[in-house]
């Protein structure tokens, strides 16, 4: 067979009344919103480069029945649409064509290829690649076309070609060659000599992107000096005294900060200069996260599986369990916001699928931290503007979640200048499993036995996604590898999810885990611990392109793959199911009890790693931390009359941290699975913010689950203890607002920290580590007090960026995610004020605690000054008692609305409740206690909730709340103004419509790519 021709098919929307080129319009809107660039008209052409032996008739058939919609589109084969004067009578001023670089996942092309096979089932060896061409008319003079092209593509994964006005006049249109993958030459495993000096050892680690420190390199060196190990290696035909590249890479993955959480496992000498106490902590994780949960496990029977699996599992009902996990995907999202975020969400979906014997993902949570979208300060080279990161991450999460059919039920977006260096992208997923499978096995336990077959399921392995785990354990630099960036393929994964759940119910799965960080080396390596060994053959692993070396196949993080253990007798049924669902399933090895992870490539053994060395051989870090609290300046509080106070509230509502996220959140499907009881939005116009999600996943059943979160990185600028306590309290409070069952709540801790290890590049490492210690102490204290066991979690410890020689570290950030039970969703409560005349109360005490509040941040930006020092303190005993009383009142159906009082304080909370009933009111703060007006209106004291009660129930409600702080504020009304009084005088007045438009305006950006 000769060279396969590449046919070019171009498709564009028809220009007819009632139709529009929506893609072009969206780009136009985005350029106006983000860059104040106003263009007269933009059109779009989708291109398909079809590399296949097709006859002219077949090409026409595929154009008509596959590539174009006969009603709304028109297309051409092997002829530029721009040369077709009926379609484009006027030539554009500028044309920019964007296509993928070789090897980058092209989902539209994959779908097109599938469609081509539907038309021509016998077609062999066809390939497709897609392009998008944007055509511009009416561009402003002097525009930098290259700049525009860079806005429309990410050079890390895409290519662009351009026809400038000169070329357009000559009808020379942009073209991109077919993205052929360059051939790679297979290289046999090489031996890495570790009998070298320390400097050379570190050079090996650095140059190989292994992210191993000297002590770790030396531990590996020592392993290969062991005569017993050497003898074993000799019998296997491996180099006796030195590792192969396969082994070294596998260890680097397994021992990476990303996979083995070395900082949380470290021995820390902590010095608290406030109390003059010095403590030795042997693993923050074991001491402050695991121990409290294990202690709580003695009192409750519903903690089924904690910490050791891909997600934490709790018993929910007698028949069903729930599991939850959240991950971060920060580094990939910095490099390619769309792909990085998408692989984040579909990746954590696989954690759920890989829990126990397989759980069904039923809800996603997404929390982001970005630089402000209107950021106008300096932007170091190599960084995207925060608005572009926001759009890209959002689009990735939206695509990943929506296409997988998993509703996004809860989340948050936080903004701070320091996140321009590294955005935080937390993606979480909740899953369900039947407690027992039809064959009687408990679904949360894996049951592999030696001899079970190791299957790799789903996508193929490519050179994309090599070194993701080790890369995320390094700081972000200009040289960060593009191979660490991938785009997800939700449809391939969805097919796999369908198949896995059927295989589970048919009893065909003994063990399952996902292929995420570290690829097969981690997934098989970890599962091999359960049987005591595994043997893997890399030569049979299906590849996206030939020539990958053994170590690359082993550590590649190519997406959409699960590793599954299947018994011999179940092989035919398992493969038949894979075939039905069009899921690739390949036998790649066997679980053993040999005590070692043995990797072969064909006949040749390329790695032999004893299980105990792999999983316990990594030396423990020894670190020091020292806590010296920072001292901040106080802000300048401007003298303000009631109207000016109203304007301050209006400006607070417009701050991105508080502003409505509706434009973004509406683009997530939050209702698929038909279980959504309390949604992201509520109120008469469906635009008031919900506090927590309530879902009722069993069709027709009123038993529910609650999902909420808390995140307040601001407080870290005063004390990470306060930040952590506030985050957990916020998650609990949000759950209480919808009526959670406080006897069954569980949590996830997701830490994102700047590098806390003291070194030349991190001179303040001891302080950052002290912040981590204090955060863990708070987690321990608060979770124990709230009977809130952490059941899973994750940490991401290198959130620094060094660009243009400048280091930007994120503020230490804990995301606390809560999963709780709801006994009867018909009693769930939403945040919107309901009926005129309902009594408004503030529950909980207000203190003079404005430190690091959103108000103080705003004032310090507006008028100079600092953020203050009095961060909100927590009183867990008082809070929990109040929360219990309130949920009791909810259970008795006495509460009409409940809204968490947090960012922006009471005034913000009241305004949001008023948005819910589209009516202003007058409230009186006389009962709020001994604080100034700033703290009364905008303070963020913890443990506070705004509730309303209908007049008929106020007496009963007051009885239940008798021993708690209950401040009557006023009544629900339908006025056009919000008025807040104190001591008989107005202290804040504002028109509700003004507040609403401030709150809604900031983040309603419009457009998109």
């Amino acid at each position: 067979m000769g060279q396969v021709p590449v046919h070019l098919i171009e498709v564009t929307p028809r220009d007819l009344p009632g139709l529009q080129d929506t893609r072009g319009e969206s780009i136009k809107e985005m350029l106006a919103a983000d860059h104040s660039l106003f263009v007269e008209k933009i059109r779009s052409i989708t291109g398909y480069q079809v590399k296949a032996n097709l006859t002219p008739d077949q090409l026409l058939h595929s154009l008509q029945d596959l590539f174009t919609d006969p009603i709304i589109e028109t297309g051409t084969v092997n002829k530029s649409l721009l040369d077709d004067s009926t379609t484009y009578p006027g030539k554009p001023q500028l044309a920019i064509m964007v296509g993928f670089k070789p090897g980058v996942t092209d989902n539209a092309a994959q779908a097109a290829l599938d469609g081509l096979h539907t038309l021509f089932p016998n077609l062999d060896g066809a390939e497709i690649s897609t392009t998008m061409t944007y055509l511009f008319w009416g561009l402003p003079d002097g525009l930098d076309y290259k700049w525009l092209a860079n806005i429309l593509h990410n050079p890390m994964i895409e290519r662009a070609a351009m026809a400038t006005p000169d070329l357009c006049k000559q009808a020379i249109w942009p073209q991109l060659p077919y993205p052929e993958r360059p051939a790679i030459e297979f290289t046999q495993p090489v031996t890495i000599d570790l009998e070298v000096d320390d400097q050379k050892l570190m050079q090996i680690s650095d140059e190989g992107l292994l992210a191993l420190n000297l002590e770790e390199m030396k531990a590996i060196q020592a392993h290969y000096r062991d005569p017993q190990i050497q003898a074993t290696r000799e019998t296997l035909g491996l180099p006796a005294e030195a590792p192969t590249d396969v082994e070294l890479e596998c260890l680097a993955q397994t021992w990476s900060e990303h996979c083995s959480h070395k900082i949380f496992a470290a021995k820390i000498h902590h010095n608290d200069t406030v109390t003059n106490e010095e403590t030795e902590i042997d693993s923050l994780f074991k001491t402050h996260i695991m121990q409290p949960t294990h202690d709580m496990q003695e009192d409750v029977d519903w903690l089924l599986s904690v910490f050791h699996d891909n997600s934490g599992v709790i018993e929910w009902t007698k028949e069903w369990s729930l599991c939850i996990k959240a991950e971060t995907h920060n580094s990939p999202s910095a490099l390619d916001p769309f792909g990085g975020a998408m692989t984040g969400i579909v990746g954590v979906n696989r954690d759920i699928l890989g829990t126990g014997l397989g759980a069904r993902p039923i809800a996603n949570t997404d929390v982001f931290c970005f630089g402000p979208p209107d950021y106008s300060g300096d932007l170091p080279g190599g960084l995207f503007h925060p608005s572009r990161v926001l759009r890209g991450v959002h689009a990735g999460i939206r695509t990943g979640g929506n296409e997988s059919g998993i509703p996004t039920v809860n989340g948050a977006i936080v903004f701070d200048d320091r996140f321009i260096g590294k955005p935080l992208v937390y993606a979480g997923t909740v899953g369900t499993m039947p407690r027992k499978l039809p064959d009687g096995r408990e679904s949360h336990d894996k049951t592999p036995t030696p001899g079970d077959i190791v299957y790799m399921l789903g996508g193929k392995v490519g050179s994309d996604g090599i070194h993701g785990a080790t890369f995320s354990s390094l700081e972000l630099t200009e040289e960060s590898p593009s191979s660490a960036v991938q785009i997800g393929d939700p449809i391939t994964q969805k097919k796999m999810i369908d198949m896995v759940l059927e295989a589970r119910d048919a009893g065909l799965i003994q063990v399952i885990t996902d292929n995420g960080a570290g690829g097969l080396s981690s997934s098989v390596g970890e599962m091999a611990e359960l049987t005591g060994g595994a043997e893997l053959d890399l030569a049979v692993v299906p590849l996206k392109q030939p020539g990958l070396s053994p170590w690359e196949i082993l550590v590649s993080e190519s997406q959409e793959r699960m590793t599954v253990g299947v018994r011999h007798e179940d092989v035919p049924a398992f493969e038949a199911l894979a075939n039905l669902h069009e899921v690739e399933a390949t036998q790649v090895g066997t679980f053993t009890d040999s005590g070692a992870f043995i990797v072969k490539h064909g006949e040749k053994t390329v790695a032999h790693l004893p299980m105990n060395f792999m999983h316990d051989g990594c030396p423990q870090l020894n670190l020091k931390s020292e806590w010296i609290p920072p001292i901040n300046e106080e802000p300048n509080y401007p003298k303000s009359n009631p109207k000016q106070m109203g304007q301050i509230l209006s400006r607070l509502l417009a701050r991105p941290n508080i502003a409505s996220k509706e434009w973004w959140v509406r683009q997530y499907d939050h209702e698929v699975i038909a279980q959504s009881v309390i949604k992201p939005f509520c109120g008469v116009n469906h635009d008031a913010p919900g506090d927590a999600a309530v879902i009722a996943p069993i069709m027709g059943n009123t038993r529910g689950a609650v999902i909420s979160c808390g995140i307040v990185p601001r407080y870290s600028d005063i004390d990470a203890y306060a930040m952590t306590a506030a985050s957990i309290d916020e998650a609990v409070r949000n759950a209480v607002c919808v009526g959670v069952n406080l006897d069954k709540i569980a949590g996830l801790d997701n830490f994102c920290w700047p590098d806390p290890i003291e070194s030349e590049k991190t001179p303040d490492g001891q302080y950052k580590l002290a912040q981590l210690v204090r955060s863990n102490q708070a987690l321990d204290d608060v979770c124990r007090a709230y009977n809130l066991p952490c059941i899973s979690g994750k940490d991401s410890m290198k959130n620094d960026a060094k660009l243009d020689g400048k280091k930007i570290s994120i503020p230490p950030t804990l995301l606390y995610t809560l999963l709780g039970d709801h006994q009867d969703v018909r009693k769930a409560v939403s945040s919107d004020f309901k009926d005129k005349g309902d009594t408004i109360y503030l529950l909980g005490e207000t203190h003079q605690e404005l430190g690091a509040s959103e108000l103080n941040f705003m004032l310090s930006e507006e008028t100079g000054g600092g953020i203050g020092n009095d961060a909100p303190q927590i009183d867990t005993e008082r809070n929990l008692a109040l929360y219990r009383a309130l949920t009791k009142a909810m259970d008795e159906e006495l509460v009409r609305s409940a809204h968490d009082c947090s960012d922006g304080g009471l005034a913000t909370a009241i305004a949001e409740c008023c948005f819910g009933c589209d009516g202003g009111t007058t409230i009186d703060l006389d009962g709020i206690g001994d604080v100034d007006n700033w703290a009364a209106l905008f303070g963020e004291s913890l443990g506070r909730i705004v509730v309303t009660v209908s007049p008929a129930n106020t007496e009963k409600f007051a009885t239940i709340m008798a021993n708690h702080c209950l401040v009557k504020l006023g009544q629900v009304d339908n006025k056009s103004e919000l008025t807040i009084k104190r001591g008989g005088e107005n202290i804040l007045t504002a028109k509700l419509t003004d507040l609403l438009s401030s709150w809604k305006g900031t983040l309603h950006m419009g457009g998109g790519v």
Partner: protein, 271 residues
């Protein structure tokens, strides 16, 4: 008259509302099976064993090359005869959201007497340019032959789509479909009293996608094949409504269930 009404709920390739679609038919008293599209293509299962076929919502093939196109082609080219026989024998079909897109792209809707599977309309990108999940008010044509919507006036259900703008390029098609009662369900402004459905374009977000004549769903000339962009199955119970906490309803079945009851009852009596 069948004892049990049997429903084939298709899934696979990114369909993702199959579980709840199965559930609502069961709540309406039918027996429903999830059937993988490939089980029909390879002959393991046959539509002939069912009275109703449902193509649920989702993102089949990621909406690439236009929503519903690729799955529509799998049905149009893979099981053409089976689908035509099913429809010609007077059995019922519903397509919801992505399922509606599939039925339109494969030419089953608005369709024709011969079930020729010729595409005459399309569903394209919302004018906003993006996917949205929001609740809408729907109004039904009381004169439509549609068996799925008999007796319905208005319901509240969510739309969850990026490509829900119903269009055709031939004006007389719209007039013809209107005359036949095929433009069975439209977006309406709840501030206007029933009946208020009309051709005059309603503003966003009342009409969430700028559909021609505010069309939310259509049926074929017989009224037995029906498709719509909004999700009636997502409002199967009162506690799933958008504003139920304001309304203190008598809890029970949601406003979307009537559609499934209609079909199951029709099948019981006629098939």
């Amino acid at each position: 008259m069948p004892q049990d009404v049997r429903v084939a709920v298709l899934y696979g390739f990114g369909i993702n509302c199959d579980h709840e679609t199965k559930a609502v038919f069961e709540m309406a008293g039918a027996e429903a099976d999830r059937i993988h599209v490939n089980e029909l293509v390879n002959g393991d299962k046959s539509l002939a064993d069912y009275h109703i076929m449902a193509v649920p919502g989702g993102f089949s093939f990621g909406d690439h090359l236009g929503s519903g196109r690729l799955l529509g082609n799998r049905l149009r080219f893979g099981i053409r005869d089976m689908v035509q026989d099913f429809v010609k024998s007077g059995k019922l079909v519903i397509g919801i959201c992505n399922g509606f897109q599939v039925l339109v792209k494969m030419g089953l809707l608005p369709g024709d007497e011969d079930v020729s599977l010729t595409q005459t309309a399309s569903l394209t990108l919302n004018n906003t340019g993006h996917y949205e999940d929001r609740w809408v008010h729907l109004e039904f044509d009381p004169n439509s032959p549609c068996v799925w919507t008999k007796g319905l006036e208005r319901i509240r259900v969510p739309v969850r789509h990026g490509e829900g703008k119903f269009v055709t390029t031939i004006d007389k098609n719209l007039d013809q479909w209107a005359e036949n009662g095929q433009l069975v369900v439209r977006y309406v402004d709840p501030m206007h009293e029933y009946p208020s459905a009309g051709d005059e374009p309603l503003p966003f977000p009342i009409c969430p996608n700028a559909s021609m004549r505010n069309i939310a769903g259509v049926c074929d000339p017989t009224g037995r094949v029906f498709g719509l962009m909004p999700h009636p199955e997502a409002n199967h119970s009162t506690w799933l409504g958008a504003t139920w906490t304001r309304e203190m309803p008598e809890h029970g079945e949601g406003e979307g269930m009537a559609i499934f009851h209609n079909a199951v009852n029709f099948a019981k009596e006629n098939l």
